[in-house]
């Protein structure tokens, strides 16, 4: 690999996977960890895709969404002042610049290419050549178009509006507790979208597909816990944001109690859509009293995931492993039906951890 490709790989590609490690780990867990056996599930899924144009279009839409995430990230990096030295790549011939950008696109788009390759292989083995050509064509077009966009961005020219995600000009006042949410809204929009889509789909799927033969809050409680856990990568990003951009808040004369209340309010803001959506399952799945247990559990879990990050210097990888460990432990406790005591204890532990480590925490470089 020549030096330019190597630098692009290290600055753009490796950093992309590092920043999105949580997203990929989560996706891997959902796609390959939950379905058993994973190979059989994906073989059936790919056959389903090849048998239905509607299904294929849905897959194209998913790839397109993922590619938008790639484009937004790469453009952001190419325009970042720290990466301004990359302008020197423009000294190469336009064809060579385009090839470099194609290389970058292929590397960040690799997960989609890998899945598309599996689809093409199965399509050819089933003699569904049109489907194979459509999949190849779609991905080739996406890669070439994205590489073109990166080339324009590298030249620091104005990009067409289509390549930018639509923004919403909404400027309400932002009290302290709302800042983590607005950070996600403005700076981690795709992550927020993916998290909310998955979390709400989980609740929707459960409420639509599961028919209880007797009243038991535990299955819905477990789904709510999964739904809250889906936010863990976002919580990690929020913690990093707080450390970098809200460090001044530590020096403000705010009582620990108020800081704890801010944390709870900030978690509520994140799970507000889930809290509202849950009502579609009333009264079949829960009573009013149990609704508070569900909301308290989601809040307590988010607070706990947040507080845990203050106890040590976690990487995204070590943090997600801790989160899955916590979830597994809580899963067994929930089986014994501890009722509202569990979320109450969890919230209390979270706030004690938060209070104990808030001023003592220091990020190690």
């Amino acid at each position: 690999m020549n030096i330019t490709a190597s630098i692009l790989q290290r600055i753009l590609v490796n950093h992309f996977y590092k920043v999105n490690a949580g997203f990929f780990l989560f996706l891997f867990f959902v796609l390959f960890g939950i379905p058993v056996p994973a190979a059989g599930f994906h073989f059936a899924l790919i056959n389903g895709i090849l048998d239905s144009y509607v299904f294929l279009l849905l897959v194209f839409a998913a790839w397109l969404l993922y590619n938008l995430k790639c484009i937004n990230y790469i453009i952001q990096q190419l325009r970042h002042e720290r990466q301004s030295f990359l302008f020197v790549v423009n000294q190469n011939s336009p064809v060579k610049v385009m090839l470099y950008m194609l290389f970058v696109q292929a590397m960040v788009y690799l997960p989609a290419i890998a899945y598309a390759t599996a689809i093409v292989i199965i399509a050819i083995s089933r003699h569904l050549y049109l489907m194979a050509i459509l999949v190849c064509l779609f991905n080739a077009l996406i890669c070439i178009a994205s590489a073109l966009v990166y080339t324009v961005a590298l030249q620091r020219k104005q990009l067409p509006a289509l390549t930018r995600l639509p923004g919403i000009r909404w400027q309400p006042g932002k009290p302290l507790f709302s800042m983590p949410f607005f950070f996600a809204w403005h700076n981690r929009a795709q992550m927020l979208l993916v998290t909310k889509t998955f979390s709400l789909l989980l609740l929707y799927g459960f409420i639509r597909l599961y028919n209880p033969d007797h009243y038991d809050i535990r299955p819905l409680l477990l789904v709510c816990m999964l739904s809250a856990t889906a936010h863990s990568a976002l919580v990690f990003q929020v913690r990093e944001f707080e450390e970098e951009y809200l460090s001044f808040v530590r020096g403000l004369p705010i009582t620990l109690l108020k800081r704890c209340l801010n944390l709870v309010a900030s978690c509520w803001l994140f799970i507000l859509p889930e809290m509202l959506f849950l009502w579609t399952g009333y009264p079949l799945y829960f009573t009013i009293a149990d609704y508070f247990q569900l909301v308290l559990m989601m809040t307590a879990l988010l607070c706990f995931y947040h507080a845990v990050l203050l106890t040590a210097n976690f990487t995204m990888d070590s943090y997600l492993r801790t989160v899955f460990g916590i979830l597994a432990g809580l899963f067994f406790i929930v089986l014994y039906n501890p009722g509202i005591i569990l979320p109450c204890i969890l919230l209390a532990i979270s706030l004690v951890l938060y209070g104990s480590y808030y001023y003592a925490y220091e990020k190690k470089c």
């Binding site: 400027q171 932002k174 460090s247 020096g251 220091e362 190690k364």
Partner: protein
């Protein structure tokens, strides 16, 4: 006014600062030292942003035992302030005024003095580094703190803002406020009259008389 008791700051196993005992009297104090000598670390410890061993007392209030009362008397402006790009100066001013129980109008007046009031409702992402620096200085003076910590207050800002900053420092000092200021730039004695000099070297802080 400000007293250090067995203060030690470590980064991992590296002892960055060791101050067995030190008392800084009221006034405007110039904290000098080479790059990496621990000036910013000291300011951040006094501002309550860095954890450390030992204790720091401001007018008898301990940062460890009476943190909220202590912090209501201290303000800190960073050398290179970082704020979320999506919030506005209005959001920050309201947050500071609410927590420091002070007047929003007084803070807005200072924004006018620094010529950034027109951008009061704009997201900070649209601010230049100089504007952010001016905003951080305004926030540091919000709430009439007893002790203002200014880390390189004269960098990034224009000549007019430098005059304004010096004027506000002298006004605040006349009302009884104290300062610890770090600056690599030589400060004109006509603009600011320092009463103390602190030197950061050999992993400790010592006081020099003027």
């Amino acid at each position: 006014m400000l007293h250090f008791e067995n203060v030690q700051k470590e980064y991992g196993n590296f002892l960055a600062l060791d101050i067995p005992t030190l008392t800084i009297s009221k006034g405007i104090c110039w904290l000098k030292g080479e790059n990496g000598s621990g000036k910013t670390t000291l300011l951040k410890m006094v501002a309550g942003l860095h954890p450390f061993k030992g204790d720091i007392l401001l007018n008898g209030l301990s940062i460890k035992k009476q943190r909220q009362a202590y912090l209501s008397q201290v303000s800190y402006a960073e050398a290179e302030p970082l704020y979320p790009s999506f919030i506005t100066a209005e959001d920050l001013i309201k947050l500071y005024c609410q927590t420091k129980k002070s007047s929003i109008e007084a803070a807005r007046d200072m924004l006018r003095q620094f010529n950034i009031h027109d951008d009061y409702k704009k997201p900070l992402g649209a601010y230049s580094s100089g504007m952010l620096k001016k905003l951080s200085l305004v926030l540091a003076f919000t709430g009439s703190p007893q002790l203002v910590l200014l880390d390189e207050p004269f960098i990034t800002i224009d000549a007019e803002a430098l005059e304004t900053t010096c004027g506000i420092i002298m006004q605040h000092a006349a009302k009884g406020g104290s300062f610890i200021i770090t600056s690599h730039q030589p400060v004109n004695s006509g603009q600011i009259s320092f009463t103390n000099i602190l030197v950061a070297e050999n992993r400790t802080i010592s006081s020099l008389s003027i």
